[in-house]
Amino acid sequence: MDPWLDFTVIRNNLTYFFIGSYPHGNLGGVALTLYLAVTSCVISFVGGLILGLLSVSRHRAIRYPTLAVINTVRGVPLLMVIFWMYFLLPSLLGHPVPESRTVIAALALFTSAYMAEIVRAGVEGIPRGQTEAALATGLRPWQALVYVVLPQGLRNMLPSFVNQFVSLIKDTSLAYIVGVSELTQVATQVNNRSMVHPTEIFFFIAAVYFIICFTFTSISRRLESRLAWRKSI
């Protein structure tokens, strides 16, 4: 008789769960999940920084269009953005684009909009007197931003950035919908093949997601306390 929970299906497919059919085939599983998350995180960090700074520009002609982009993206479900990119990107570029690339583009765009809001709040959270002091010594506005406001703001933003990254890791599971063989997709494949242990399989991948996210949250906690400079005496 079968035991209540049988994890042999996990053990038998362990490498597949972690790296897909690599090195004989494509990278997949946990490794692909992390690859998607890290790549789109790096892109969206840069994108969010740019969008965020443009959204606090003194010039309306810059600020308003930027805010429009940010709010549009934030107002659309991520799944829609993934579909858009999946269909749009190849026709825009005029050649086929690997699914994983379209997913990275979607995740990066989507997360950029959220990162931009974090950057905006972070910049606006620095007291006006800091900018004024910098301007008063003759620094140009962009220099005041780069040397005075951003270094302080980024430290305050760090926890929110990590939150966003953790969301991103979980959001990569939506890549499943366009057939990218990240962790969730791999789990579904294994489940479809064996058909007998869905509980074990999905329990296992939930645990994997949790462990990855928890690890990053803990690292960020430690980083935060290390970076915290003595704010008051």
């Binding site: 007197g129 004024e132 002091a133 301007l135 010594t137 003759g138 003595r230």
Partner: protein, 244 residues
């Protein structure tokens, strides 16, 4: 050096500066006083265009402050500004607070900037604090660093907006001493302050403001012994009363 000619400014409906005419000559120390909300901060903040003016002419060091063609960043390098809340950069050490602008704006070499900064720290009596962060300093020390930071740009004018108002009484003296030393070195200064002892001793002229208008502009001796305006008399009585 600084010339206001019929300057006006509004915050919405609030007429915060009303027909300001004021001339500060090179090497002069002008103290600006008046009740809270009278427009003192706004007045000195217009001098380096932290607040733009709406009407009139404001000429500083030969440049029209409100003219769009004026290189405002260049003008600001000539004008030091000391804030009530110090506004030191909390993420930088004392030394880097002082060297930031000389290095980035004046393009001074790092080593030279540091030497100049050390000389300034010496002057304000804080050489041993070069590697401290602002939060590790007392209020009086922070304000002296802020003064050193302004002086690092070798300004021709220094503006002070209530530099001692945020300080504990026992720290006021050390900051005023630095300012007095600066005045004696011939610096052109505009100082918003309620430290009447300082005003009496150091100022060449006292400007009294109320409701955005300059009501009196006189030498300290005359101002303190026989203020003309009823509002000035009342103000002096309040501020000089032993209960204050």
């Amino acid at each position: 050096m600084i010339r206001f000619e019929g300057v006006h400014k509004w915050f919405g409906n609030l007429h915060v500066l009303n027909t300001i005419n004021l001339h500060v000559r090179q090497g002069e120390v002008v103290v600006i006083c008046g009740p809270s909300g009278s427009g003192k901060s706004t007045l000195i903040r217009t001098i380096n265009r932290l607040e733009p003016i709406d009407k009139g002419k404001l000429i500083v060091d030969g440049m029209h402050v409100s003219d769009q063609k004026t290189d405002i960043n260049r003008l600001r390098t000539e004008i030091g500004f000391v804030f009530q809340q110090f506004n030191l950069y909390p993420h930088l050490t004392v030394l880097r607070n002082i060297t930031l602008a000389p290095i980035k704006v004046r393009k001074v070499g790092k080593k030279e900037a540091q030497e100049q900064a050390m000389a300034l720290l010496e002057r304000v009596g804080l050489s041993e604090k070069r590697d401290a962060y602002p939060s590790q300093l007392s209020g009086g020390e922070q304000q002296r660093v802020a003064i050193a930071r302004s002086l690092a740009m070798k300004p021709r004018i220094m503006l002070f907006d209530e530099p001692t108002s945020a300080l504990d009484p026992e720290m006021i003296g050390e900051v005023l001493a630095v300012m007095k030393d600066l005045a004696e070195s011939g610096m052109t200064m505009c100082v918003v302050t309620h430290e009447m002892g300082f005003a009496r001793e150091v100022a060449d002229r006292i400007v009294f403001m109320d409701h955005g208008v300059i009501l009196e502009e006189r030498e300290p001796a005359a101002f303190f012994t026989s203020p003309q305006h009823a509002r000035a008399q009342q103000f002096l009585k309040q501020i000089l009363s032993p209960m204050h």
